[in-house]
Amino acid sequence: MKRLNLLLVLILILSSVLSVSAQDKPFDGQTIRVVLANHAWTDAVAPKIPEFEALTGIKVEWESYGEEQLNQKLTTEFIAGNAGVDVFMTRPLQEGANMEMNGWYYDLAEKTAADVEYDFEDFTESSRSATTFNGTITAIPLVTEQEILYYRKDILEENGIEVPTTLDELYAAAEKLNDPANEFYGFVARGQRSPLVTQLSSFIYSYGGDWFDRDTYTATLNTPETLAGIEMYSNLLKNFGPPGVLNMHWAQCIGIFNEKKVAFYTDASSLYPNLLDPTKSDVAEVTGCAVFPAGPAGAVMYDITAWGLSIYAESQNKDAAWEFIRWATGKENSLFIQGEKAQQLARTSVWNDPEGIKSFPADWAAAVAGSIGAKSYDRPLITAVTEARDLIGGIVVTAIEGGDYLKAADEANVKFQEMLNNEKP
């Protein structure tokens, strides 16, 4: 009899435990596939995924790829109609327009509107507008980036040079510090055809240029303003850049900056750990950050949303997928990722929280603060963006090589206009 009682009690306890967990974990037992990019944000979130699994009972199968491989993989899977992907990382500026056109994003409007606790309005307006295409909320903004100026504090001090605030000052300072005989170079930035375009953008904007007129869809690659920006960028690299700059992506730029061979470097703010983290960089102590220098049209740098987190339109587990996204990009996790892991997120509340900015170097934070709200795109916002980048990058490569870049710009402009004609809404 005693044994029977014990058994009954056990069953009772067990069933109550089970029923509680079933209520708390509506998605218990579901599996979602999450496809991420090799990015510091992923590194920050991945170790916490088991927490999410314990919390919700959702099993997360995640994988991550290099950014180009990720886009290729997703595109091929989506074309094949493979519904295996639930959540994926996406670059609103790079593939956003194309993926939206193909209907691969699940519209997050309903989910975000229904979720008061999640507080979607907390994301900065520029980041929200960057992930919204034709009224569809394609992604939750993850990380933001601005173009800033990195410089060697010690070198500038030794030579009595002030931190440049205009592009002309930057040019003069780079000229003065350039000393190729001793393998020291005034300036470095990306020289690879396609990657350089985003870093060129702030130069062009600061001279008053742009890729194209967004109202009339007229290409403006050979206007005097755009050409002035291209000239400044390519002259800096041609005259004061290290040899081999044409094969440099950001990794090579950082490599040469870390070898103490360069005075100035303009690139994305998000790259700063590679330069300012003493465990990764030999120049951490002597590297300074400043707002992107102004041109005739002012300091107009990009302030973009580099990555977003989306749900695939054909996903079979949209609710569980949203559960993952709201956890990964919720206030609590955002504070952790930005505060502890030093990722630049897009939540205003996190930026306003002292805990949220405690890991950032002061001059870097100031440079970023001075850039927020500038241009929300760093490349032409069209579906055929890769092709356009190759076209534009080609002009700069020609200029750095000392070729006839004016002719190259005219030719590229004609081709770019053809592309724009196909894109006109």
């Binding site: 180009e68 290729q72 595109t75 074309i79 194309n98 056109m101 193909n102 393998e183 020289g191 690879q192 055809r193 290290p242 040899p243 081999g244 700059v245 044409l246 094969n247 440099m248 490599g255 040469i256 070898e259 061979k261 579906t383 055929a384 890769t386 092709e387 190759d390 990058g393 080609g394 490569v397 020609t398 090589e401 196909n422």
Partner: protein, 293 residues
């Protein structure tokens, strides 16, 4: 009943697996590519995919400068690589074979090493070696007082640098093929040559090389096909850059399909690519028969 049917149709049934395999794995993809090349299938376009006839081909040859240049570049790379690899490969093969010495087999094994390494790893190592500022190549050149080069990062030196990398990796293949060819040569002609008083150079030029010709032709053909479709080394060192200066046909096709998502257009390039390779192979086979080499 069934066995009788099988008996009667033996000649059709037995090759069937092979035929199905070839249709599935070769004929269908090829046919599908040809079909695609006649459409405007583009992922980034709002227009629906349509049959457009020869438009892609006309555009390739009349409007697309990048395509024309990539074709020339492919021939430049292939020609350069072939000349270096065949010359060096045959020469080193004859040298290695010339005398019996201890450790010959070790030399053969070492020769194999570059071919065993993965091309991407090779590319990464060469990228470091040829780095203009920090690479060891320029350092060595400076040490001996030779002018330095920008190697992979200048539009004028990038293809020769790539030829260098490819030759480093693949010359041993020609050497090995040459060695195999040399092992099968009869000894009588050499003996009569010695009797006739021929010197070493004359023996090599008039006896070894002519007899090796079929072997060399096969090796060169293999290398031609491989060089022509080179992708791995270029993709992992320069990605087609600086600018477009190392963009070969294969790289440009890849760009068009997986970066620009112009599948129709890329297919038409692949068809041309296939035609060139097929044409060359047929040409070589035909001339070999004619010359009876």
């Amino acid at each position: 009943m069934i066995s009788r049917w099988i008996d009667r149709h033996e000649k059709h049934i037995f090759p069937l697996p092979a035929v199905i395999f070839i249709i599935l794995m070769m004929v269908f993809p090829l046919g599908y590519t040809v079909w695609n090349s006649l459409t405007n299938w583009t992922l980034t376009s709002k227009a629906p995919t349509e049959f457009i006839g020869m438009t892609n081909y006309i555009e390739l040859f009349t409007k697309d400068e990048r395509f024309i240049q990539s074709v020339w570049r492919t021939f430049y790379f292939t020609g350069g690589s072939l000349i270096i690899q065949v010359t060096l490969g045959v020469a080193s093969g004859i040298l290695i074979d010339a005398k019996k010495y201890p450790g010959k087999r070790i030399v053969n094994s070492i020769l194999l090493l570059p071919m065993m390494a993965t091309p991407v790893a090779i590319a990464m190592v060469w990228l470091l070696i040829l780095e203009p500022t920090t690479g060891v190549m320029n350092y060595l050149l400076k040490q001996v007082g030779l002018p330095i080069s920008k190697w992979l990062s200048s539009t004028s030196t990038v293809i020769p640098s790539l030829i260098l990398i490819d030759s480093w990796e693949w010359t041993p293949l020609i050497t090995l093929i040459t060695l195999a060819g040399l092992a099968t040569l009869p000894t009588d002609p050499y003996e009569s040559a010695i009797v006739d008083g021929a010197n070493t150079f004359q023996t090599i030029w008039h006896i070894t090389l002519p007899m090796l010709r079929p072997t060399i032709a096969i090796g060169a053909l293999l290398r031609f096909i491989d060089c022509f479709k080179i992708f791995d080394i270029i993709y992992s060192t320069t990605g087609g850059g600086p600018g477009y200066s190392s963009e070969t046909l294969n790289i440009y096709t890849y760009q068009n399909s997986f970066y620009y998502f112009k599948f129709g257009y890329a297919s038409s390039m692949l068809v041309i690519f296939f035609a060139i390779v097929l044409g060359t192979v047929l040409f070589v086979t035909y001339t070999r028969k004619r010359l009876e080499v």
